[in-house]
């Protein structure tokens, strides 16, 4: 894609807003549609777009494969350990009231933020990992065959 000047310029302008939108969907999920699953996919789209336009190597130097593989598991662990934390605070598994016993609704806010962050990390990791797994394989048809 080296020769597509317009695509490269437009991509550079778009990646920032895409990541910003992913963060908005993530952290504004309490008030508007969206949450970890959607935000994770949008976040991954930003990096995949970068990979498609600037090449796989460029994307992998921004977001290395080993990191992607770690993130996949890390997200699920963040989610599960939020539940374990509430257990240690003397509440039920994933009962977020534990984080603020005097004001359970605030605790719910913190808990939901934590688990949604876990979902974001897992979904971003998995989407990137699947993309890398497909794109890393050697293509059999050249650019001109399209």
């Amino acid at each position: 894609m080296r020769h597509h000047l317009i695509l490269r310029v437009v991509t550079k302008a778009l990646i920032g807003p895409i990541i910003l939108f992913a963060l908005y969907v993530q952290f504004h999920g309490d008030f508007s549609p969206g949450g970890g699953f959607q935000a994770g996919v949008i976040m991954a789209v930003a990096f995949i777009l970068y990979g498609v336009i600037f090449g796989l190597n460029a994307a992998q130097s921004v977001f290395p494969t080993w990191l992607v593989h770690k993130l996949m598991a890390l997200g699920v662990l963040i989610y599960a350990y939020t539940g374990v934390a509430t257990l240690f605070l003397g509440y039920d598994f994933l009962d977020y009231g534990a984080f603020d016993p005097h004001h359970p609704a605030h605790g719910q806010h913190w808990g939901i933020l934590a688990v949604e962050f876990g979902v974001l990390v897992t979904v971003t990791g998995v989407m990137m990992a699947i993309y890398y797994a497909f794109a890393e394989r050697r293509p059999r048809i050249s650019d001109k065959d399209w």
């Binding site: 593989h69 719910q108 939901i112 990992a129 890393e136 048809i141």
Partner: protein, 188 residues
């Protein structure tokens, strides 16, 4: 009235895209039309007020799947080989399945029916209690992350498992092939 017109137009375009996909042999075009199909269904979901699902569909269906399909295309061919088998049996199966599904929908409550089982179960309780319990206006997030937090943990685990599965299938193959290469060098 306007909503009905929008829905009908979207469904018409959806069916047209699906028919175009089945007729096209040029796989690049098929992938692009599959993206169009996803965007159209995302618009339908918006008109059903399911915005969450709509932009998941737009991002996953039209965005990531298209990229994955294109990377798969680079590994295979770009023109579909014409099938030699008769399309009669598949057509029969599809028609029978479609008829069964339509027959099944006859028993379903109509769209937005307040007395449908889905509205009378736990959903009413969630809607009534969530403002006092959580102070969070988006009930979808509340149900997903708090009332049904354990389910969502399972969903995250499913996504993780799917990722691991794809990695095992694709990168395992690469390692085997590399080992095959060294074997060949050793024997030759």
């Amino acid at each position: 009235m306007v909503e009905l017109l929008v829905d009908l137009t979207l469904f018409f375009m959806l069916v047209t895209t699906a028919i175009a996909i089945t007729y096209s042999r040029h796989l690049f075009g098929v992938v692009m039309m599959a993206g169009v199909f996803s965007l159209l269904s995302a618009m339908l979901l918006v008109s059903l007020d399911a915005v969450d699902v709509a932009f998941t569909e737009a991002a996953v269906g039209a965005g990531i799947s298209s990229v994955l399909m294109l990377s798969t295309l680079t590994l295979t061919a770009r023109i579909e080989k014409p099938s030699t088998r008769s399309p009669l049996i598949p057509l029969l199966v599809v028609t029978a399945t479609g008829a069964a599904i339509i027959y099944g929908t006859l028993d379903m409550p109509s769209f937005g029916d307040p007395n449908s089982p889905a509205q009378l179960g736990a959903a009413a309780q969630y809607l009534a209690n969530s403002p006092a319990d959580m102070h969070i206006p988006n009930v979808v997030t509340v149900v997903l992350a708090s009332y049904r937090g354990f389910d969502t943990l399972g969903e995250a685990a499913v996504v993780f498992t799917a990722g691991v599965g794809v990695l095992l299938l694709l990168s395992g193959l690469r390692r085997r092939r590399r080992r095959g290469d060294t074997d060949e060098k050793e024997t030759s």
